[in-house]
Symmetry: D2
């Protein structure tokens, strides 16, 4: 079921990521793109916080979702785009740190649907703690459609 990655899988991920304006707003950058495995990092920023001064759960979810989507995209055929069908996230520790890292991997790559898992770590003085775990479903859609159906 696992699709072979296309030769240009990393370029496809970068190109799509660069068009996600919200990733720029967050200050996120791709730090690793391997077949079925993507890592995104971003710095703490005051403007992304919730009421206790920690990172908002939605920001954590946003980056983890992007990492999941791009992990899935590395294994998808040419001329498709990836969209999130759904995801579920557990917030397990306060999102306190100077740097955050979302590590996503494909659990199952299908023709239409891929299931991914992600962990998000917070780094304080270089030491990482897992602060959230995500499980979600990504869909291959025709490149122009932009729509789950």
């Amino acid at each position: 079921m696992q699709q072979p990655a296309t030769p240009d899988f990393a370029a496809r991920v970068k190109s799509s990521f660069d068009r996600q304006a919200f990733m720029t707003t967050v200050g996120a950058r791709l730090v690793s793109i391997e077949p079925g495995h993507v890592v995104i990092e971003w710095p703490f920023s005051e403007k992304l916080t919730q009421q206790h001064g920690f990172l908002h759960a939605g920001v954590i979810a946003a980056v983890a979702d992007s990492a999941c989507g791009y992990a899935a995209l590395t294994l998808m055929p040419e001329r498709v785009a990836v969209l999130a069908v759904e995801f579920k996230i557990n917030l397990i520790k306060p999102a306190k740190g100077e740097l955050f890292r979302a590590v996503a991997k494909v659990v199952r790559a299908g023709r239409t649907l891929s299931v991914c898992g992600a962990e998000v770590q917070a780094y304080v003085a270089g030491n990482g703690t897992t602060i959230a775990v995500m499980q979600g479903t990504m869909m291959a859609v025709p490149e122009k459609s932009g729509m789950v159906d």
Copy 2:
């Protein structure tokens, strides 16, 4: 099981919301605060988009999560804060529109845990379509803790 709302429930929600810097970044505002029911609206913004130019799923999740948390907070006793334990969201239509609205309600208010549901609508020329549905678990934590445990 449903806790009676404290008299100042709306003020508590507003005060917490105003400290969520990410809601300011998104341009979100509270448009309704009733016991067990909260509505948040926000405008489309280029800086919140994904690769197809639609709103990033994570932004939708972030506002829906805040709406769920505040719907739960309206029914919580004094001197507690609310945190998201986990949530699950289905993205059901492209997040295309000039205005977005997250409508959250409490499905079950418990002493420690509350279960909430939210719908997110996108408005195009005043007509709303449901683009996402969320189901999540919120937790009452001591006001200073900032932590699920």
Copy 3:
């Protein structure tokens, strides 16, 4: 997006339900089949319990999942079968009662994927309480495939 139900939608649901041996094991029966809306009831049974003598969460999930699947199937075209891609359930009250009822409705019917919500009620002396809520994703698959892909 909402597919018109086929004229024989109720017969298709009954026929598939009758082949779900586990529904017989549970003692479940279809009590209502409308386009996008299905209700299943089942009695309490000692053999379906968890360690406190209440219904096992997995049994609740099983019937709610079947109800979601069949709600989705009512709106699907001819010659497809329905399978669960994923679901999420919150258990909000003890599953204590003599009769249980899963009420499922389609939130969004797509060509391939449908999103459904379900509530499960427990009845004690004729009075119902909501004990669980589910949100899940169902998929239309070719009739013989039996497989999400």
Copy 4:
């Protein structure tokens, strides 16, 4: 945050498992109980199937949920019971096989809430394939309460 397991953690799990009548109905047995890690196996049975003759998703969810609960219980203090707050499961392959195995581990053990992950494998002629993945939240409740609150 990780609680030390009590010396009798395995006995506590066995005792609770033996009171889950539904696990007997399924034919499930505990095959491994380690701190934060539990494995349950069960054989294929006609009476647990869905419309394609494969195991019903709800049965898979039920055993995975029990495995998650007991993995969490191994790390909980004396005199508490464990209940599922919520879980989410992705069904990733047809549940076809002669033997099934749910492997659960604790991702985060908290005072009140624990987050667990589980994988379910199907065995055909001794070869296992992952057919489902679960992520869920378990709660420590007073031994007699039987209730999430």
